[in-house]
């Protein structure tokens, strides 16, 4: 026999010393170090107005990161989150501006439409057996095309719905604690993250997502309705993309149909930096949120320091590789 693990005596890791916790701790320390570094060396970085910028930028990427985290833990991938965000923003524009319906219709409509499109991706993967990479690559283009078609390739402005702006950019907190400005978008992001974490850790869907990502065949042979849960997972991802669409269009006060490409890669990067495994079966929402913050702090800090835009992209790439390397090292030691 090839018993590489000496089974019964293997010590159990308990409490906060698990790899997942350790990795989040490392990611968190990196985030603090980055904040410290830029505060010291980038003039004006530490100003609150700049912090608000960072939070605004994190909100969208964080929400899309959460969407893609669900899918990646199930051992899939979703390349359509960026353009799906755009498409749902356009849908909100159609409902609010073109049809003139009140705000709640726009919000719910955008999210439901995202969920519907996501479920279609899921159905292609589960029923037609198309690999997730290909199915969502196709959906990425479909969403991009539909966004342009529906909007006539022109931005849709939310001038008739002044309250739309407050989804992302106002600050409810300022009303409660005068002087402290925290953009609503960040609150939305944290709300989505908390809901997502509860679903992932406490609901039967979360349990099936981990089981699918760890060993789909064993789950199927246990009588689990694998196809249905996959469709639900991608549908949930699409629904959360709808929130992303609301955030970005609220911040820009318009649905920009040409936007969206490339956002999926930032979202996947946030998840990966936060310790979600691309081979499935493990990952956390908190990790993804920390990952999203690391990316926006880095981008913002380098910009404030006056580093050329092109170099910023290079550095982001290096950070992604370094994060996965640290993950590998931590796992080997465990």
């Amino acid at each position: 026999m090839t018993e590489t693990t000496l089974a019964p005596a293997a010590p159990e890791k308990t409490g906060f010393l698990t790899v997942a916790t350790l990795q989040k701790a490392v990611a968190f320390v990196v985030l603090i170090l980055l904040l410290g570094f830029f505060s010291l060396f980038a003039p004006n970085f530490a100003q609150w107005s700049n912090m608000v910028n960072i939070m605004q930028a994190t909100a969208v990427n964080g929400v899309l990161g959460v969407a893609v985290t669900f899918v990646i833990i199930s051992a899939g991938i979703d390349l359509s989150v960026g353009t799906m965000m755009t498409l749902t923003a356009v849908i909100a524009g159609l409902i609010l501006t073109n049809a003139g319906l009140p705000l709640p219709f726009g919000v719910v409509g955008a999210m439901l439409f995202g969920g519907f499109m996501g479920a279609i991706s899921g159905a292609c993967i589960a029923k037609l057996k198309i690999p997730p990479f290909i199915a969502t690559l196709g959906m990425m283009q479909i969403a991009r095309g539909l966004a342009l078609v529906f909007s006539g390739a022109k931005p849709i402005y939310f001038n008739d719905t002044p309250s739309y702006y407050y989804i992302s950019s106002g600050s409810v907190i300022t009303r409660l604690i005068p002087g402290l400005e925290v953009p609503n978008g960040v609150l939305v992001m944290f709300g989505v993250a908390i809901a997502a974490a509860v679903i992932l850790n406490r609901s039967i869907l979360g349990r099936y997502i981990f089981a699918l990502g760890s060993n789909e065949e064993a789950a199927r042979l246990s009588g689990v309705n694998v196809d249905m849960w996959k469709i639900v997972t991608y549908g949930l991802s699409g629904l959360i993309c709808g929130v992303g669409g609301l955030l970005i269009s609220s911040r820009l006060n318009s649905a920009q149909p040409a936007l969206g490409l490339g956002y999926e890669l930032d979202a996947i990067a946030a998840a990966v930096i936060g310790g979600t495994s691309l081979s499935g079966g493990r990952g956390t929402i908190l990790g993804t949120i920390i990952g999203a913050f690391i990316m926006s702090v880095l981008t913002n800090g380098l910009r404030v320091m006056g580093v050329q835009e092109e170099w910023k992209i290079v550095i982001t790439g290096i950070i992604i590789i370094a994060a996965v390397y640290v993950d590998t090292v931590l796992r080997k030691k465990a």
Binding site: T2, T14, S214, S222
Partner: protein, 510 residues
Amino acid sequence: MNVHDHSLDPKPVVELLGIEKSFPGVRALHNAHFDLRRGEVHALMGENGAGKSTLMKVLTGVYQPDAGEIRVDDAVVAMHSPQLAQGMGISIIHQELFLMNHLTAAQNIFIGREPRRGMGLFVDEAKMKADAAAIFRRMKVDIDPAGEVGEMTVARQQLVEIAKALSYEARVLVMDEPTSALNGTEVEHLFEIIRDLKAQGVGIVYITHKMDEVKRIADRITVMRDGEFIETLPAAETPMSTVISLMVGRELTDHTRASGAGAGEEVLRVSGLNRGSIIRDVSFALRKGEILGFAGLMGAGRTEVARAVFGADPVDAGEIRVHGKPCRIASPRDAVARGIAYLSEDRKHFGLVTGMSVRDNITMASWTRFTQNRIWMKDGALAEVAKEYVARLKVKTPTIAQETRLLSGGNQQKVVIAKWLLRDCDILIFDEPTRGIDVGAKSEIYEMLKELARQGKAIIVISSELEEILRLSQRILVMCEGRITGEIDGATATQESIMTLATQRDSEAA
């Protein structure tokens, strides 16, 4: 080559002395000894976790020992890497083969050290093929060096691995459970090759659980237990019961045969099951409280029948009645809903989610029952029921939060059994229930199966080990080439009567 008389050549080729090896929290090897002479087959035996594989990984440079000596030709060496070991003619053939499926046999054999031509820019394919062919001739096997490895049978792939080891001028060959995926004829062929290699002076370390193989092929037997050296014995004079008791550290009582009493009403009837040439007109019935054995050679179609009944593979035709009612089983979900469970031989891929906890694995098939408003998991209730089953089936695990990949084979099997019991399945299909499970835990699993039958479960056992079939089954169905060739009563069956039916091919049957 001349055949070596072992009594005249007692000097070992390799020697492991006082090897110590610890991993964090676990002492894997303690004072382990082993030696191998030229031209002998030395069986290394022990239960799972006894340290056999770890010791061989020390010998082949995969692990560095914490203390102890490795001697090759009487000189102490520091075995830094597998490459170094290979250079000294020490090769290992793992249980799972490491071949590149899309490359040819010759390319696999010479991977990383291809003969070159044209100033070293091109691979000399012709020479490579010729060299591979020469090795195959030496082994007296008929394999095309230009054939793609992925299209060969497992037995032939194994021969390619052996050829690869020989191409390194192997003097020491470690074989880890080489027959686990071979059928009877293929095993015979492998033994012939082993005898030839012996005659050529190659020393062979043979790791196995199968007593009859050891009896036939080994010169000496070394038994390990809990990472320690126990004893080295001459194979010819040692009764196997002695070896078993050394392995488990206690005497095993002799087997009792299953009795036919207690079988109740019919719970499952399969009629006219067909799938291409793999399943041909299979019909049988299963009664409450009985264990029905499915015997046959590898590839006879037993697993395929089980998977078809379980809805894991589609069929061309056939009717399945559960508790007398005809039903359509198109997916494992349908089967589970009707109380049918399938326990695959390959637990790591099809039985367990190894990265998840004991608790999650036991409860997985029943999660929907442990929810609030069909959404939220009742984790407290899950933990309670998992603990209950861990206690009931005596699963050895520190806690229910332990990942199942860290459990031994026997305990993993118990977790899978617990999963189906919790799901209230009353028709249990076991495919090779003790594969990869050590001797001591085997009898525990056997007792568990019998107890389940006594409690009124209907059980099918598919096994390639005749002893296991004979020991468990009240009735035995024998399959050959996709057909059921006969039914034998468990009380009167013999190994011979089963083997006769298992080899009854079409031409003979007609």
